[in-house]
C-alpha cells in the first residue's frame, strides 16, 4: 500500500516498577486507517493508547506523528496533542461547563479561535452527534451515551488527524452503546484515522481495517477482521475469542434441555 504512515511507534517499552507493560511495540497506522486493539485485560492496550498521546511517559522507544517524535515533556506537546484526539472510558466532560462550553473551551483558549467561529463549528458537530438541542444542559443532566457523544464532538473540534478511543462504551448501559458506536462508525466512514480499544467484538469486526491482538505487552497477531474472527492463527487469540462465544454455547445447551 502506498498510503503514508500517520502514527507510528518504534520499539516502545513501558514499565511500572518491575512490571513490563509494553514490551517492544512497533505500530504503524496509515492515514485513514481504523486499527482496533484487542486483547485480554491487563495486556497493555490502554497503556499503549495513553502512550500514543503522551499521557504516559515511555521507558524507551518513541512515538511518531507524521514522522515527528512525541515526547511527554517536549515543548511541542500541546501542538501534538491537538492533532491527536482522545476519548476516555469514564465520562470526562468538564462538569462546571455546559455542553456548548465543554465543546468550545479548548478551541477558544488553546487555539485562540473566536467564540463565534467555535460556536458555528460546535453547532455542526453537535448536530452530527444529535445533541445540539442539549447545548445549554450541564453534563450531569446527560446520559452516559450522550456524554460520550459530546466527548467525541469536543475532541473533533480541535481538528485532530488521529482519534484514539479507550474503551469508550465499557461504562455504558447496553442500549446506549449503539448510539456511541454509530458515531464512531460514521467517523470511520469519513476517513478519520482511528485507533480503538474496545471489548465490543461485533463492532470491532464491523469498523476495523486491521485488528491487532496484544498479549503481555506484545503484538501476538495482526490480521484483517474477517481473518481474525474466523481463523485466528495464534493459540492465545483463539483462547481469547472463545471467552466471547461461551455465552452462546450455554444458551444453546439450555434450549436443548428445555
Amino acid at each position: 500500500m502506498e498510503e503514508k504512515i500517520q502514527l507510528q511507534t518504534r520499539d516502545l517499552v513501558k514499565k511500572y516498577g518491575d512490571d513490563t507493560i509494553l514490551n517492544g511495540i512497533d505500530l504503524k497506522v496509515r492515514k485513514g486507517e481504523v486499527v482496533v486493539l484487542l486483547g485480554p485485560s491487563g495486556c497493555g492496550k490502554s497503556t499503549l493508547l495513553r502512550c500514543l498521546n503522551g499521557l504516559e511517559t515511555v521507558d524507551s522507544g518513541e512515538v511518531l506523528l507524521d514522522g515527528e517524535p512525541i515526547t511527554a515533556h517536549g515543548k511541542n506537546m500541546s501542538q501534538m496533542r491537538q492533532k491527536i484526539g482522545m476519548v476516555f472510558q469514564s465520562y470526562d466532560l468538564f462538569p462546571h461547563k455546559t455542553i456548548l462550553g465543554n465543546v468550545i473551551l479548548a478551541p477558544v483558549k488553546v487555539q485562540h479561535r473566536s467564540r463565534q467561529d467555535a460556536e458555528a463549528e460546535a453547532e455542526v458537530l453537535l448536530r452530527r452527534v444529535g445533541l445540539w438541542e442539549k447545548r445549554g444542559a450541564w453534563p450531569r443532566q446527560l446520559s452516559g451515551g450522550q456524554k460520550q457523544r459530546v466527548a467525541i464532538a469536543r475532541a473533533l473540534m480541535m481538528h485532530p488527524e488521529v482519534m484514539l478511543f479507550d474503551e469508550v462504551t465499557a461504562a455504558l448501559d447496553p442500549e446506549m452503546v449503539r448510539e456511541v458506536l454509530d458515531v464512531m462508525i460514521e467517523l470511520a466512514g469519513q476517513g478519520m484515522t482511528m485507533v480503538i480499544v474496545t471489548h465490543e467484538m461485533q463492532f470491532a469486526r464491523a469498523v476495523a481495517d486491521r485488528i491487532l491482538f496484544l498479549d503481555q505487552g506484545r503484538f501476538v497477531e495482526e490480521a484483517s477482521p474477517e481473518q481474525f474472527f474466523t481463523q485466528p492463527k495464534s493459540q492465545r487469540a483463539k483462547a481469547f475469542l472463545k471467552t466471547f462465544t461461551f455465552d452462546r454455547c450455554a444458551t444453546t445447551e439450555n434450549s436443548v434441555v428445555i
Binding site: 479548548a106 483558549k109 488553546v110 443532566q141
Partner: protein
C-alpha cells in the same frame, strides 16, 4: 437596660467594629493568598517548598493566635523588627488563616478526578490552562463551604487582638465594663455587633454555596 449608655457608646463600638473589619479583610485576603500558594505547592508536590509548606501548616495550626500575636508584637522587636499593632494583627491572622485556607483549597483540588487533567491535556491544554479553566473552577466550588467557615472563624479570632492593645470590639467592651460596670449593656452590644458583622457573611456564604450547587458544579 440603660439606653442612654447604648446611645452614648454606639460610635465607639462602630469605630471598633471598623477596626475588626479592617483587620479581618486584610488578614483574610492575605490568608487566601497564602492558601492558594501553599495548596498549589502541595498539589504539584514541588520539592523543598513542599516541606516548607508542611512545616508552616503544622506550626500555624498548632499554636494559638494569641501566642502568634505575642511573638510578632513583643518578640520581634527584641531582634529589631518593629511592626505596628495593626500590622501584627493582620500578619497574625494571615499566618493562622493561611493554613486553614490551604487545607480548604487542597481538599477541593484533590477531589477533582485525574481524568479531568488528562482530558484537558488531550485537548492540548498546557498545565497552566488546565489549572485555570478546568481544575481550579471545580476545586473552588467544592472548597466554598470550607472557605466560608474559615472566613467566619477568622473574623471571630480577631477578638484576641485586644491583647496587643488594639481597640477592637472586645477591647471596647472590656474597657467599658471596667470603667462603668455596665456589664449587661456592654456585653449585649458586643454580641450584637459581632452578629451584625457575621450574619451577612454567613447568609451570603450559604447563597453562594447553593448557587454553585445548582449550577451543576462539582456534581
Amino acid at each position: 437596660m440603660d439606653f442612654s449608655f447604648v446611645q452614648n457608646y454606639l460610635p465607639m463600638y462602630a469605630q471598633a467594629a471598623l477596626l475588626t473589619v479592617r483587620i479581618g479583610c486584610f488578614g483574610i485576603l492575605a490568608a487566601v493568598l497564602v492558601g492558594i500558594i501553599c495548596s498549589m505547592i502541595l498539589y504539584f508536590k514541588i520539592p523543598v517548598l513542599q516541606a516548607v509548606a508542611t512545616v508552616y501548616i503544622e506550626l500555624s495550626r498548632n499554636t494559638p493566635l494569641l501566642v502568634q500575636l505575642f511573638f510578632l508584637y513583643f518578640g520581634l522587636p527584641k531582634i529589631g523588627v518593629r511592626i505596628s499593632a495593626e500590622g501584627c494583627a493582620v500578619i497574625g491572622l494571615a499566618f493562622l488563616g493561611g493554613s486553614y485556607m490551604t487545607e480548604a483549597f487542597r481538599s477541593g483540588l484533590e477531589s477533582i478526578d485525574r481524568i479531568q487533567t488528562e482530558s484537558a491535556g488531550s485537548l492540548g491544554m498546557n498545565a497552566g490552562q488546565t489549572m485555570r479553566y478546568v481544575i481550579f473552577p471545580q476545586a473552588l466550588a467544592i472548597s466554598v463551604p470550607a472557605l466560608v467557615a474559615n472566613v467566619i472563624f477568622l473574623i471571630k479570632e480577631t477578638s484576641v487582638v485586644s491583647a496587643i492593645a488594639l481597640a477592637d470590639l472586645m477591647y471596647v467592651a472590656k474597657d467599658l465594663i471596667g470603667l462603668y460596670y455596665q456589664t449587661k449593656e456592654a456585653l449585649i452590644m458586643l454580641v450584637a455587633f459581632y452578629l451584625i458583622l457575621l450574619l451577612p457573611v454567613s447568609v451570603i456564604g450559604t447563597l453562594v454555596e447553593r448557587r454553585l450547587r445548582y449550577a451543576g458544579f462539582g456534581a
